[in-house]
Each structure stands twice: as C-alpha cells, then as structure tokens.
C-alpha cells in the first residue's frame, strides 16, 4: 500500500487533457496497467470491440490479449474469475456490460468477494474492481437503466463508488484498482459523454470514502452522486440567481460514505435535499437521511427531503418523468426553504 492510495496526491505533471467521463475511465485503466503488471482487464466485448460503450477502447491493442481479453458471456464466470485471480495475487478489473446484468454474478459478489477477507480472518483477500455502467437516461428500458447500488451498499465487505466528473472518475478508479478491498465501480452512463473537463495526465488518486463539496452555500444542502449531479448543480445555480445559497455535496463513494462532510454541511444549512435516481424504497439516501436526523435533530430547520426514482421498474417511454430532473429538485428545494 502506498501513500497514493490514501491521499489525493499532487499531480506529477502539469499536462492536462480535456476528457469526458468515459475517456477518463479509459485513461485510468491505461495508466494503472502501465504501472502494475498485476492489473488485468476482462469482460464481455472489452477486447477488439473496446466495450459496448468504448470504455476499454485501444487497451487490448496496447496491452495484448493476455492482459485485456474477452470472456464467455457469463457474469458469474467474470466475477468468479476475478475473485480467484485476486486471491492468487492479481488486480483484476472486470467489466459487467450493464449493471442490470450483475444478477448472475451476485452470489460471487456477496458470498465470495465481500466475505473472503472476513471469513478467512484476513488470510485471503479479493482486491478486485467490478466496473459497470448504471442508471437511466439512455432510453434503454428497465434492463439497461437500473441503479442497483443499494444492493451492494447493503453487503458489508464491498466498497461502492460512483463518480460524476471526469477528474473523479479517473482518480476514483485508480484508487479502486489499488484498494485491497473489492470495489463495485458504478459508471453513470448517461453522463459518459455529457461534458469534458481538464483531467491531469499524471498520476493522482481520489481517496475512496471522501465526498466533494461542489458548491459552497448557507441555506440548503443538496447531497447526490452519479448521474444526478449535473442537474443538482443546475439547481444550485438557478437558486443562486434568486438569492438562495445552496451547498452541493457529491458523495462519490457510497460505501464508505463521508458522514463528516455531509453532517458538517447540513449542520451549517439546516436543510437537506437528498437526490438520487434509484427507487425510493430502501434507497441508500435513506441511510443518509437517518444519520442526519439522528445527529442533527436540533439543527434542522426542515424535514430531510428526498428526490429519488420511483418504486416501479424503470420505464421506457416515460423515463424523463421517472428521472429526478431539475424541476422536481427545484420544487423540493422550494418546499424545504418554505419551512
């Protein structure tokens, strides 16, 4: 374990690239594979095809079929093999083509990856990364749009991550590869190519378990992660124009989640709006809400509020209604500010 794993490190070069989120993910894997021979990458169509979203484009060409390879069409094989490789000392990155298809690999994730360190008393560990595109907004219906992060957040032993910016995507994925624990790395596919930002070419990591404060504010805290973040920022900017000061916290990591940053923010603003696109019932934000009311009951100026997906399967033609867009967030914010 190096200091790199622990801290958001200084960047070794000033060179930056303008990248979107999926390009940043590609660069993260490229850099980690250059740095560490133990890193191997596999999944369905990740080789010559470069992945159905092109996250792995060009990697087989650079690293060869030995390190970047296509597997049989079997998520149980992919996750299971990643566990066995990690136990034997490799650092596998396994791509599951859509988070909706993690089901066949679920037992491997919860019974093997999540528990092998614990049940063996630390004799065996599974330092692997499962990367998978998740969330809606791509008109994919319910088998290409779901947000299953709560299933995995509910399983001790897994770390669960979801970036919302290219910079974070690169830094978090590099930290995930270096983590000695299994990491489920959800990629919000609807913002894969939504925007570009400057991403350092050099080596840096974003520490797992640390939230980012995207906007500082005094009147209301919006907490979110992943694909909802661009809309959350729009809401903050719109409210700012009306004289309302909104703090926006991007969790980035769901497990472990950054209680301290969230609680500090809500202690200051007294109002919390929790935003996600996963179905409302047993949504991870329920845990965040619970913690806020337990720790900050006296500081709250309004009930903790959630904008989330609905308790229906993810719909096809109705997905714009399903997703929590800026208007729904604005209405929820207005209600909170009216208390």
């Amino acid at each position: 374990m190096t200091a790199l794993q622990d801290k958001e490190t200084a960047v070794s070069t000033s060179a930056t690239l303008s990248l979107n989120l999926i390009q940043a993910i590609n660069l993260a894997m490229r850099e980690e594979m250059r740095l560490d021979e133990r890193v191997v990458l596999f999944g369905e169509d990740v080789g010559a095809r470069g992945g159905v979203f092109l996250a792995t484009e060009g990697l087989q060409a650079e690293f060869g079929r030995r390190r970047v390879f296509d597997t049989p069409l079997s998520e149980a094989s992919i996750v299971g093999a990643a566990v066995g490789m990690a136990v034997r000392g490799l650092r596998p990155i396994a791509e599951i083509q859509f988070a909706d298809y993690m089901g066949p690999g679920f037992d491997q994730i919860v019974s093997q990856a999540a528990k092998i360190r614990y049940r063996s008393g630390g004799q065996f560990t599974a330092p692997l990364v499962i990367r998978t595109p998740s969330g809606g907004g791509v008109r994919g219906g319910h088998h290409h749009s779901q947000s299953p992060e709560a299933y995995y957040a509910h399983t001790p032993g897994l770390k669960v991550v979801m970036p919302s910016t290219p910079y974070d995507a690169k830094g978090l994925l590099k930290a995930a590869v270096r983590s000695d624990d299994p990491v489920i790395f959800f990629e919000p596919k609807r913002i894969y190519r939504a925007f570009k930002e400057d991403v350092p070419e050099g080596d840096y990591v974003v520490e797992l378990g640390r939230a980012a404060v995207r906007r500082e504010g005094a009147d209301l805290t919006i907490v979110g992660y992943g694909g909802v973040m661009p809309d959350a920022l729009k809401v903050a900017d719109a409210l700012k124009a009306e004289g309302v000061s909104v703090e926006v916290v991007d969790l980035r990591s769901i497990v472990p989640w950054d209680r301290e940053t969230v609680l500090n923010s809500v202690a200051k603003t007294g109002r919390a709006l929790l935003v996600s696109e996963a179905p409302r019932t047993a949504n991870f934000m329920g845990e965040v809400a619970y913690t806020i009311q337990e720790e900050l009951f006296d500081a709250l100026l309004a009930p903790v509020s959630q904008v989330a997906g609905f308790d229906t399967p993810y719909p096809y033609a109705q997905d714009k209604v399903y997703l929590p867009g800026p208007n729904r967030m604005l209405r929820a914010a207005a209600k909170l500010l009216g208390y």
Binding site: S111, G121, T125
Partner: protein, 363 residues
C-alpha cells in the same frame, strides 16, 4: 495412461484388495503407510467431531466418513502449499491429507482464539493460507468460477502450480458450476475439477440431480477430458489425479475427475435423524461394506505390508483429544474481532458501531 470417459469407474484394487489389471505400484512403502494413516486420521476426526457435537462444543459438522479414499488419494497427488485448492465443506480428509494440522482444523470447528479464520465462520468451513487451502463458502458451487480464476492467474503468472476445485454431486446442478467449467475450457486453465460424488445431496439422490449417466461425461461439453474413477479406491484416485496433474503442468488444460464414493454418515448433524426417511438402511450397509479403508488394508496385507491398524487408530484418537484440549485452552476471541477484517481498515461507520458495542459491553 488412464482413459477418459470410461463406462465403468477406473479401479486399481478390488474389494478383496487384489490388483485389478496390470500396473506397477509407484508409491514407496512410506507413502503407502502415510496414505493409510491419513485415511484413518480422517475417519477418527469424523467420529470425534460427532462426539463433541453431541457434547454441545460445536454447532455444525458434516461427516466425510466413507469418502477417505477420494479425499486422501487426491491430497497425496498434489503439491501441498504449492498447488491451490478451492475445497467444499466436506473436505476434512483432504485437509488432513495435505498436512493441515488437526489442531488448526479443531480451532476452526471450536472457534477458539487460535482459529486462523478468527472464529467468524460457521464450524467446519476451514481456510488455511499456508496450504493454499482457500476459505470455504457454504454457497454450493460458489467456489468453482473463482477456482478457474485462480488457475487463470497461475497461467498468467507462468507458474507450474495447478488449481484443484472440489465439490459434491449436487453442485454440478448449479449455474456457477457450468460457468466455472465453461470458462476454464475456453481459457485452457490448469485446473482440475474433482467431483466427490457421494450420491446424495442432503436428501436428493443422483438421479434427482441429473439425467447424465455420470458426472464425468459432462466434461465433453466443456472440451476437456472427464475421468470416471472409483472414489473408494485410494490408489485409483491417486493414480488418475497424479497423471492428470502432470499433464496440466505441461500445459494440457483443465480436466474433470469424478470420484464415485458414498456418504456413510448423514449430510450434517442437521439431518442425523431425518436421514432415515430418504435412504434405506440396506443401501447404507451395502456401502459400509465397501469401506475404502478396509479395502486399502486388504491391499496392503496382500502386498505383504503390515499395519497396526489398532495402534494407528489409537494414536489418531489421542491426536484429536490432545488438540481439543490444547485449542480449548487458548480461549475464545473477544467481541471486537467481529468488527475487523470487513475491510483492510476499519471505516468510520464500522468504528462507530464498534464503539456502540464497546459501551454496551463495558457497561
């Protein structure tokens, strides 16, 4: 060279202990004696564990009595601590045959302070790093795809290790079993899948699991050889496994070895009585008469090798009794062990929960 896909199980010695066919014994007298002793130690371990279970010292035990030919034959044909094993939950004979100490096994069963797994896992789910004996998951066939991954890593790293993955007959019905074998076939990974076919998955018999004539034939579908072996013939198991392992080290890819044996005891203590409802006493008695230890002792006698079975048995009993006393003396781990090894470090939310319990415990 043994042939795959035989109609009848491959045998080296008959029930009478006499050689079947023409073959030359390639084991030393010392190796034969060790093999015999490990089979007896495994049997005695079973008997003792059932006793301490009745005494309430442990909460779960799955006997492997009757399967010692398979487990010890396999253990003696691989390189302990070099090759990797992804076992299933009835592999105490395999662990003993590899050289894992009875005390380490008992520490796990009793959840004492010296348990290598830190007393967090259900009894009888061993994991021993020094022997590359990977921690056991109760979830059936859950170890198969990971075992393939370990073999793929061995291939990637260019080692001469192989991986052995064991499972019962019931496991072959699981999707993960197919997933693991299919991927191993594609990757040509150095893995030996060993089915310890004891003919019963709790209360469901072999015909209730599969319409295949046996398990070995399934290997056809994955592009690997399938060997059908008499699992109560320790020398047949040892011979087939040794040969297949050598070919695997030479890069010939995976294989499936089915060892046909029988579970003399109940599935676990949980069905010790219920067992009588699903299979006949006649069937159990028939297989009891095919005891792999007795058969091997007949062979040793026929070869002119005398073993003092009673003395070996008595020594094995003392070994287990002494190990129980010694490991019990180490006590049990404290409550706070519960909060460690979930992750590499203890994250803040778990640390808070630990403090909550600490206050409760110290109140």
């Amino acid at each position: 060279m043994h042939k795959p896909f035989t109609d009848k199980p491959i045998q080296r010695i008959g029930e009478d202990g006499r050689k079947i066919g023409r073959w030359t014994l390639d084991l030393t007298e010392d190796q034969l004696r060790t093999m015999h002793r490990d089979m007896v130690r495994a049997r005695v371990f079973d008997e003792k564990l059932v006793t301490i279970l009745r005494q309430g010292k442990t909460s779960f035990y799955a006997q492997s009595s009757g399967m010692e030919g398979t487990q010890v034959g396999l253990a003696h044909a691989v390189r302990p601590g070099h090759d990797w094993i992804w076992p299933y939950y009835r592999d105490q004979g395999l662990a003993i045959g590899l050289g894992v100490s009875v005390r380490d096994l008992l520490a796990q069963c009793l959840g004492t302070s010296e348990d290598l797994c830190r007393a967090r896992q259900m009894p009888h789910h061993f994991g021993v790093r020094n022997y590359n004996f990977v921690s056991i998951s109760s979830s059936i066939a859950n170890q198969v795809a990971p075992a393939t991954g370990t073999a793929m890593a061995q291939q990637y790293l260019g080692t001469d290790e192989i991986t052995v993955c064991t499972f019962g007959d019931g496991a072959t019905s699981e999707g993960d079993w197919h997933a693991g074998l299919n991927m191993a076939g594609v990757a040509k990974a150095p893995i030996m899948f060993v089915c310890e076919n004891n003919q019963w998955a709790i209360s469901v018999d072999f015909k209730g699991q599969t319409a295949s004539t046996n398990i070995a034939v399934k290997a056809h579908a994955y592009g690997m050889p399938g060997y059908y072996v008499d699992g109560n013939d320790v020398l047949a198991v040892h011979s087939v496994v040794s040969e297949v392992a050598e070919r695997m080290r030479a890069g010939e890819g995976p294989a499936l070895v089915e060892c046909l044996t029988y579970r003399i005891g109940s599935h676990s203590n949980a069905d010790a009585d219920a067992e009588k409802q699903y299979r006949s006493r006649e069937e159990v008695e028939l297989w009891r008469s095919r005891d792999p230890i007795t058969r091997f002792e007949r062979f040793l006698a026929a070869e002119g090798l005398s073993v003092d079975a009673a003395a070996i048995r008595a020594a094995a009993q003392r070994e287990v009794e002494d190990a129980i006393t010694a490991t019990e003396a180490t006590g049990t781990p404290g409550w706070d062990v519960m909060f460690e090894d979930v992750y590499e470090d203890v994250p803040a939310h778990i640390a808070l929960q630990r403090e909550y319990v600490r206050a409760e415990q110290e109140a």
